[in-house]
Symmetry: C2
Subunit: 236 residues, 2 copies
């Protein structure tokens, strides 16, 4: 196996998988995202080539993985969260498959569950939410707000903080009650974690100034924060 | 910290988190679900009290966690997937919080991403799906099929295999095209993994006889299986 697309988890370095850490510790080449914990980057062998993805276009990343993979190097592509949930892992996998380079997907703990959990919020809960919809909210105007406002269960917006006021406006206009319990979880599972909760209509004001990355959670389950939010969050 | 609700991941024992394994190896009491890999149960210390959850009602599990937690024992409650995504972790957390027993949530890799990934299917993909809705499908008649048929992106049904024909009928009647690429992934990331893919309308016939647990994936992304399905799946 030459290239592994590995999910690093939500932030806390202890939340990588055992398999992911094993591959990381044995790699020749590490290509990593900005959001990956420094502690995990440090787990690669001292001799490994380390490449930060920041300055590279997606096509350049794809080409890099193919090139190193073709030479038979053990390449780890380390991504925040899960490679296949808003991680663009599909694009890299298609590039590798197209080039005939063998690869492996090692899934990771996604912020989808881990960020709300770290704030005391279960995304599903018997009697409160038997569904959860995760969506990318960087392009707020492109969202089907009517469908999102109507789907039952919890809504979780990725990349929704930058234009939160407009996101909330669109959902409320489409029929989502402004009174819906909601929360924003920033820098989840790290030492910099911050959480605010408020009814949906008041969320933009409450969340002002929070850092990214941040997840927006909308639904009855957000009210559990009052009872469960005091727990210690997972930390390695 | 006395009680930890720990996600065991989707099946492959290598997909537990580093933090989860660390707690498991140091526990006094292990309460585990039927779907958790035997290799993980074996990781608890030989001296640990092992309790299979199978025969217990949820209220009995809650009481057990509270009782052992109160005595200050290091309790690990090991659940398939993620504790807070169809894992009933919220109910256990509320019981612990209500009893004043300190606890920790250690999120896990959910089948939501891991099962499709093991079949070569990214649940989101630029240009194909910028949202994913996960829903519990054990009570098919209770589903809001109209809302599910309309929400954009990928649909992922948990516990949907037993009444798959009726689930598909409801979605198609509500407007989901019968031609939508779809797949069922059974026993994902284990040696018993089986995958079938078919257009939504033909899925029930194609999936006949598959074992549980199984995840149903509905959406354009299911078509990536043709290109990505040949990869080796993650295995420890």
């Amino acid at each position: 196996m030459s290239v592994a697309l590995v999910g690093a988890g939500p932030g806390d370095p202890g939340l990588i998988t055992v398999r992911g850490l094993e591959l990381l510790r044995a790699c020749d080449v590490l290509v990593y995202d900005r959001l990956v914990a420094a502690e995990l980057v440090a787990e690669a062998p001292a001799s490994a080539l380390r490449i930060a993805r920041d300055r590279l276009e997606q096509e350049e990343v794809n080409a890099l993985l193919v090139a190193h993979g073709r030479r038979g190097r053990r390449v780890v592509r380390l991504k925040g969260g899960d490679p296949f949930l808003f991680g663009r892992g599909g694009e890299e996998a298609l590039a590798l498959a197209g080039a005939g380079v063998p690869f492996e997907i090692v899934p990771g703990v996604s912020s989808l569950t881990a960020a709300p959990a770290a704030a005391g919020i279960p995304v599903t809960h018997r009697g409160s939410a038997s569904a959860v919809t995760a969506f990318a909210a960087h392009d707020v105007e492109a969202l089907d707000a009517a469908a999102l406002a109507r789907v039952p269960g919890t809504l979780v917006a990725f990349m929704g903080l930058a234009r939160l006021a407009r996101l909330v406006e669109r959902l409320v206009t489409a029929g989502k009650p402004a009174s819906t319990p909601s929360a924003v979880v920033a820098a989840a599972t790290t030492d910099r974690q911050r959480v605010v909760s408020a009814p949906l209509g008041a969320l933009p004001a409450a969340a002002r100034g929070l850092p990214t990355p941040a997840l927006v959670v909308i639904g009855e389950v957000a009210s559990f924060r009052a009872e469960l939010g005091a727990m210690r969050r997972s930390a390695a």
